[in-house]
Amino acid sequence: MTDVSGAWYLSLAAALFGIGAFGLLVRRNVLVMFMCVELMLNAANLTFVTFARMLNDIAGQAVVFFVLVVAAAEVVVGLAIIVAIFRRRREATADDLHILRG
């Protein structure tokens, strides 16, 4: 019993996930909201890696590999959308976007 118990890692990942979710709920800057999504993805990655160790199974690590690609693609698209919208606005606030509602 030399390793730190998986439960610690998983709890940490859960906390990270919770913080990310909370950030997305309270921040108004689109870029920061997006960073919070990255936090959540990282929490999932940490969970995968931890389970991979606990189960002694390589699949968990392989999934992280794919998640990294997804995250990269998401970031490119997300930032492109942000740039497209806010290029001339000088204010990356998600709250500005609510002409569509009801």
């Binding site: 997305l24 997006f34 959540m40 998401e74 959308i81 497209a84 569509l100 509602r101 009801g102």
Partner: protein, 553 residues
């Protein structure tokens, strides 16, 4: 990299035929991109549309061929267990391929009208469709996640395609942020399920649960909850639906139709497969959740659609209502329920694409005229469009002799058979509420028809002039629930002449009788034809959906 390692690595045998439809839809956009990059001149949008249509047809052919393979030989897996080849996945492939063909037709007319060049719409739509197919056929949670991302990311971009409209960008932004949020939740759910079962492969998960099902494992339950949230978001179930009206309204209309069909197809296919096939043993855990979500989805979708004036928003809420119906089939958790859900999903795809195709045309250049007022007296100006839209809306309302009726009947009878009586009744109530707003549009198109046209010119002009004013609002309000007090309207009588043209169906005075783009007209006719033909001659499609679940892997 050592030679030793290479020799030790045995790649799985790739059954190319099994993933042929996906491959076609992944390769075709690359070809289009290459063509567009290499050609010296700017190519007309018809070239790309042709390419996409051809790819869609090829993929449709491949899917049908797969069907003929699957039917006699039974279900199986391919590419090292990554995907399932069964009736279920092939059925969704057929649906998605058909939608691709339709989207090519509709997109061509739309892009030409809006003066948007380039291959991006076609490229992204095909990728998105391929993602949905992957979701439907994936037998591994990781592949489902990747399919979901491929489908969604392409849709985020498509939503923002029309840079001139502010709403388009807003739709893309909202869809993207919330989509990424829900994807992260979904991914975390996969992680927890992986931890709880030791695999991301669906048959292996099912196998593990079959041997270890004694206790309700908290970790697995948490994972299931998170997975459900991800799926519910994609299929727009309440309370995960809030993006839907905004995104449907903001997106370019052909994209909305595509999104409504494809995203729901992919999301529901994966949801049905994961929960019915893999977590089937745990149905006591997830069935109540589905029950509750189905109830609120049915009711909220129907009720909120009642108060909308924007037709796209109204259709968005109506699609939420449809999602509730499909969930009712899943809640039954019987083979018949799943077959009913599949059938509903299949016919819904055609209905919704056709409906939004009509909306595309009516919106006119700029894609802005979505107010109910634009539909007033449509039958007079555009009899073809009005007739098709009436048919499609009546089908969505569940009027007999259309596929929509059969779908609702099938779902409700499956629920009754599974003893979900309360849910069946609620579904019927919501259908009754929903019928009201569909019919409101139909009545508006037909009953509001007789002004202007056929009158002497000066009179028609009067009508047109008044139409933009309060007269425009009145019939809508009059048909709206509880708003019958629109008594400002003059109640003139049948034989008496109608000097004021009854408020002006010529409302906008726009020259929109210019005609429907041929490609869009074709797509609309195909959708409406499907809806009517297979509403009367129901056997083929019902049989298809039924067999799809018999082959269920």
């Amino acid at each position: 990299m050592s030679l030793f390692f290479l020799s030790a690595l045995v790649l799985p045998k790739i059954a190319w035929s099994a993933i042929l439809p996906e491959l076609i839809l992944l390769a075709a956009p690359l070809v289009l991109l290459a063509v567009s990059a290499l050609s010296a001149r700017r190519l007309p949008t018809g070239v790309y549309a042709g390419g996409m249509g051809a790819a869609g047809l090829a993929s449709l052919g491949a899917s049908v061929w797969l069907w003929t393979q699957v039917t006699p030989h039974g279900a199986g897996t391919a590419v090292d267990g990554a995907i399932a080849v069964d009736g279920f996945s092939v059925l969704v492939m057929i649906l998605v391929s058909s939608v691709v063909v339709l989207a090519a037709l509709i997109g061509e007319g739309y892009l030409r009208r809006e003066g948007i060049g380039g291959p991006e719409y076609y490229v992204l739509a095909m990728f998105s469709a391929a993602g949905a197919m992957l979701m439907a056929s994936a037998d591994d949670l990781v592949l489902i996640f990747l399919g979901l991302e491929i489908m969604s990311i392409a849709l985020y971009v498509l939503a923002g395609l029309d840079a001139r409209r502010q709403g388009s960008g807003e739709a893309a932004m909202k869809y993207f942020l919330l989509g990424a949020f829900s994807s992260a939740i979904f991914l975390y759910g996969i992680a927890l399920v992986y931890g709880a079962t030791g695999s991301t492969n669906l048959p292996q998960i099912a196998d593990f649960l079959a041997h270890n099902v004694a206790s309700s494992d908290g970790l697995l339950l948490a994972g299931m909850a998170l997975l459900l949230v991800g799926f519910f978001f994609k299929i727009a179930a309440v309370p995960f639906h809030m993006w839907t009206p905004d995104v449907y309204q903001g997106s370019p209309t052909p994209v909305t139709g595509f999104m409504a069909a494809v995203a729901k197809a992919g999301g529901f296919a994966a949801l049905l497969r994961v929960f019915f096939a893999s977590f089937g043993l745990l149905r006591d855990d997830w069935q109540p959740v589905i029950w509750l979500v189905a109830v609120v989805t049915l009711l909220v979708g129907a009720v909120l659609a009642l108060v909308q004036r924007d037709v796209k928003r109204m259709l968005a809420y109506s699609s939420i209502n449809h999602a509730g119906f499909i969930l009712v089939g899943l809640e039954a958790a019987t083979t018949r329920g799943i077959a009913a859900s599949l059938y509903y999903l299949f016919v819904y795809g055609f209905m919704v694409v056709g409906t939004f195709a009509v909306v595309t045309v009516i919106a006119r250049r700029g894609d802005e005229a979505h107010d109910l007022g634009s539909y007033r007296g449509l039958a007079q100006r555009q009899p073809f469009l009005a007739a098709m839209l009436a048919l499609l809306l009546l089908a969505q309302a569940g009027v007999p002799l259309t596929t929509g009726f059969l779908a609702k009947l099938y779902i409700i009878s499956a629920a009754v058979e599974a003893h979900s009586y309360a849910l069946a009744v609620i579904a019927m109530v919501s259908a009754a509420i929903a019928a009201f707003f569909y019919l409101r549009v139909v009545v508006l198109m037909y009953a509001g028809a007789k002004s202007g046209v056929g009158l002497p010119a000066p009179l028609a002009a009067t009508g047109a002039g008044e139409g933009a004013g309060s007269g425009e609002l009145s019939p809508v309000a009059a048909y709206g629930p509880g708003a019958a007090s629109a008594a400002e309207l003059e109640g003139d009588r049948p034989e008496a002449s109608r000097p004021d043209g009854a408020g002006g169906g010529e409302g906008h005075g726009e020259p929109d009788a210019a005609g429907v783009p041929a490609t869009i007209a074709l797509a609309i006719a195909l959708c409406a034809g499907f809806t009517l033909l297979f509403g009367i001659w129901a056997q083929p499609v019902v049989e298809l959906a039924r067999q799809a679940t018999l082959l269920f892997h």
